[in-house]
Each structure stands twice: as structure tokens, then as C-alpha cells.
């Protein structure tokens, strides 16, 4: 069996972002394996441990994305494939490029994060499923293989549902599915020797970013001491009524 985890490298959510020439400049940011994709890597590893076979990590992005692929290899993935592209490519264009690479591997199933921490996009898993001509299960919180099918639980807008799906299929992952493991030192050493195949991006992005700006609202940060809860509560309600005018 082959379990594929699709990953990207993104800035850490705590990183300071700055703007250079109308675009976000990540040169000072800490870049990490997208935390949503960590659940995908972990699930691929667990499936391989339980059912045997291979866990393959497929990364998309600029040269530096190799660091995130190495992280996944250090967690325990067997080998990596890196589709290299330095510019911005929208998730639909990425899906098209990745579908070719993934189809060649004929995987049992494909996993990827439910939302990308840089583009705030949720489309990659669904677009990839369309490109592969298979079903998608989004926001998966439980996954079990049952022969040629899988049983999975996933979140909807209201509530959740259990589904059965014929494999191969694409699953998008999130917190709650599993607890991703940390790379160990021996894992990091081994990861250095594992194969990463480089593939050039062949696609034509339809979407273009024209401009980016940071508009983090300056907050008032008026913090009251709650030692006297009644006085603090009355003062807060007064501020919300008279100053903010939201009550």
C-alpha cells in the first residue's frame, strides 16, 4: 500500500510579517511544515505502520520547501517528491501539477491539510480529488481502512458525518485526527539520506496576486483589574456603551 501526504511550507503563525513592494516578505519569518499538513504526514505514517507499505511525502513550493519535506522524512516518511516552483501558484494550478506526479505513484489514498496557513485556502484537497477523478473527504477527524474502502468521520458546517468511500480517495486533515509526532534525532539523521525526487512545475496559474497589505488593527488594550469584579464589570460595560458604542 502507498500512502501519500501532500505538504507545503508556510510561515509560522506567530511570525512577524512585513510588506516589501506591495507583497508579503517572508525573509524574516520562521518557515515551517504547515501544521495542518502535519496531521496528514502523521496519518500516512500510522496507516503504513498498521497496514504496511510506503509513506510518501509530496511537497509543492520553492527550493526552500525541501526543509519541510525533510521534516516529514524525519518524522518517518520513506521518500519525498518535490514539485519546485518559485512563484505563486493557486491551489487549482497546484492540484493539476501534483495530480500527474501522484497518479504515477498509484497511491492507496492521499492526505493533505484542510486549510493552508499562507493562502487561507481550503481548495487543494478538493481540486486534487477532481484532478484524480476520485472522491474527497474534507476536515477528517477519524479514518480507518476496510479492505478497498475507508470509513471516515468528517466535519460539516453543522455537525459531522460518517462516510464510507471507495479507495483511492483524497482526505483533508485537521486537529483531532491524530497527534503528530516530533522528528527524533536518529530520524533527522536518517532523513538526510532519504531520496527527494525533484520535479519541475508544469502548470499555468490562473490567479495572480496584485497586492498585499497588513491591516492588523491597533487594539486599545484597556485592561482593568478584576480584583473588584463588580466595579470592573460596571466600568467595562460603561466603556462599551459610551466609548465603543457597541452596547
Amino acid at each position: 500500500m502507498k500512502f501519500v501526504a501532500v505538504i507545503r511550507q508556510v510561515p509560522d503563525g506567530e511570525s512577524k510579517l512585513k510588506i516589501q513592494g506591495n507583497r508579503v516578505d517572508l525573509s524574516g519569518a520562521t518557515l515551517i511544515l504547515d501544521q495542518m499538513d502535519e496531521y496528514a504526514v502523521e496519518e500516512a505514517l500510522r496507516l503504513r505502520e498498521k497496514h504496511g507499505g510506503e509513506a510518501i511525502v509530496v511537497g509543492f513550493g520553492p527550493e526552500r520547501t525541501e526543509e519541510a519535506i525533510r521534516t516529514a522524512l524525519a518524522m518517518g516518511a520513506d521518500r519525498g517528491i518535490h514539485v519546485v516552483y518559485e512563484g505563486f501558484a493557486d491551489p487549482v494550478a497546484v492540484a493539476e501539477a501534483l495530480a500527474g506526479v501522484i497518479r504515477e505513484e498509484a497511491p492507496t489514498l492521499v492526505l493533505t491539510g484542510g486549510q493552508q496557513a499562507d493562502w487561507d485556502s481550503q481548495a487543494l484537497g478538493a481540486a486534487l480529488a477532481e484532478a484524480l477523478g476520485v472522491p474527497v473527504v474534507s476536515w477528517t477527524t477519524a479514518l480507518e481502512l476496510e479492505g478497498e474502502t475507508a470509513k471516515a468521520k468528517h466535519d460539516l458546517d453543522e455537525g459531522a458525518e460518517w462516510v464510507r468511500v471507495r479507495l483511492p480517495a483524497v482526505f483533508t486533515t485537521q486537529q483531532g485526527l491524530n497527534e503528530p509526532r516530533y522528528p527524533t534525532l536518529p530520524g533527522i539523521m536518517k532523513a538526510k539520506k532519504k531520496e527527494i525526487k525533484k520535479v519541475a512545475f508544469s502548470g499555468a496559474p490562473k490567479v495572480e496576486i496584485l497586492e498585499e497589505s497588513i491591516q492588523e488593527k491597533t487594539r486599545l488594550q484597556k485592561v482593568l483589574d478584576g480584583k473588584d469584579p463588580v466595579a470592573a464589570a460596571e466600568e467595562l460595560v460603561r466603556l462599551l456603551h459610551e466609548e465603543a458604542k457597541v452596547l
Binding site: P11, G13, L17, V24, M36, P91, V92, A117, D118, D120, Q122, A123, G125, A126, A127, A129, E130, P135, V136, W139, D155, L156, D157, E158, G159, A160, E161, W162, V163, R164, Q175, G176, K206, V207, E208, I209, E211, E212, S213, I214, K217, R219, L220, Q221, K222, V223, L224, D225, G226, K227, P229, V230, A232, A233, L236, V237, L239, L240, V246, L247
Partner: protein
Amino acid sequence: MVLVVLDHDGNKLRKGSLEALTRARALAEALGGRVAGVLLAEETAPVEEALAYVETLYTATLGPYTAEKWAAGVVAAAGEMGAQAVVAPSSRQSRTYLGRVAYALKAGLLEDTLESGVEGGAVVATRYAYLNRVTQKVRSALPVVLSVKPNTTPLAEPLAAPGAVKPLEVPPVPTVEVLERVQEEKKGVSLTEADIVVTGGRGMGSAEAFRLVEEMAALLGGAVGATRAVVDAGWRPYSEQVGQTGKTVQPSLYIALGVSGAVQHLAGMNKSKYIVAVNKDPEAPIFKHADYGIVGDVHQVVPALIEAVKKLKD
């Protein structure tokens, strides 16, 4: 030619559908062409209500929702009318099936747009990125698939003359089999549409303590929210989760009770107009992102807040 996806709950169009209609009409005017609607139903759909808004309404009854069937329905309607643009309200479901639709139509996908327009024959839009911290202006050539973030757009008015229904042929597609739905009881104001949201975090201490959060929300006519930790602990249903893996809200007033302020939570509420925090830890990151706050025990402060609001209302 613009296709608008009309989302509904089986009986009534959702508010987001009327926002999507406004955007669809504006795009149709700028691109030249008309607007048609597509109404996909599990069993029942508000056909009469939808007909008041579009000249042509494509309908199909598809059984339990799956991303594959809904994508096939939207693609079939887009094909029938030769749509250059597909506009849909943003929801977790639409964000899944629209990814399939965009791929199938070889279209650019603009998710969760705040505003949209036409410049030089292409569609331009603004949206948030980087966990809601950055505003992007993006452009896509036609065809385009665009989703509309809730509470960004005025609601559309009905047309003078009602439209006509066109039943849609939707080809069967490989999809998931729905085994069991875990429904949640819906009560009060919808979280994504509420003007005031009162969210409880781990600091509330127990599921029982959420009655304070509920009382506060009811008193203010707002909705109850919860953090991921609270949902994982089983104290509150997933539908109330605010954050990167839950719902994104942008109310006038966001009240965070016993919430520490993790980045993933901030991503779901950091665009709120005013943020209020109550937490006993003065170092909690939430205070850096709050306009007003009280450092104190939620079990003492929240009852006092409820009394103070009651006093104000009198």
C-alpha cells in the same frame, strides 16, 4: 453569464445566498450578460423563494449532500448556461465542492472574497490570507469561480417578475456513501451572522460553566462561540468552534471569556470590530489583541458583567 449557487436549509435561502446574488448581479452587469441560479436539494428546496431572485433557476434533487454531487450539479448548470463566472456563498461545504468545480471548469478560484469587480476583462477581488492577517488583492482571468465571505455584501432584492425553473440533468459521479449524520441542535443566532459573539475558552473550567456564556450571549442577542480545546473536551459542539479549523467571525463585538488567544483562535476572530477579553492570566496573549479586558476570574467577573448589562438595559 453568471451562475449563482443558492444555498439553503431545505426551507429557506440562507442569508449568504442573497449576498452572493448581489455580487453575481454586479459581475453580470460588468461582464455583460444575465444571472441564473442553481438550487441543489437533498430532498426539499425553497424553489418559490429562489424564483423571486433569478430569471432562470436550475434545480436538481440529489439526496444526501456530498462534495462530488454538488460539484457535478454546479458544473452541469454552468455548462447549460455557458457561465463565465460562478458565485457562491462561502461555507465549509462550498469551500470543498468549489475546489472541484473550479478544476472541472478550468477556472480561477477566488475564495472568501470581501469585494469583487471587473477590471480589463478579468475579475479582481480582495480576500484575507496568512490566517486573516493580510489583505490580498487578487485577479483571475475568466472563467472564474468566486465565493463570498458572509457579512460583506448587501442583500439582493427580489426581481419584479418571477423566473422559470429548468430541471437539471446531473450525471452520476463516484462519491462517498453517507452512513450517519451527527446533527447538532441549532439554537439562537447563527454564529457567522451574529453582530455580537460571546466565546468561552478552556478557562471556563467545565461544560456546566458555559451556562454563563449562554446567558451573556442571550442577554446581548448574540451567538455562543467556543475554542478548539473546549470542543475537543466535548463541552460544546463543533458548530460553535471559532478559529482556523472552525468558523471565521467578524462581529461588532467579540467577547472572549477564559480564552488564552492562540494564533489558531485569533485567525477566526481577529477582524472583529471590538474585542473584549476576560482572563485571570494578565500575560494571556488575548490581551494584546483586545480593546478592553478584565484580568480576573471568569466565575466572578462574568456574573458581574451580566448584572451590569442588565442594569444598563433597565
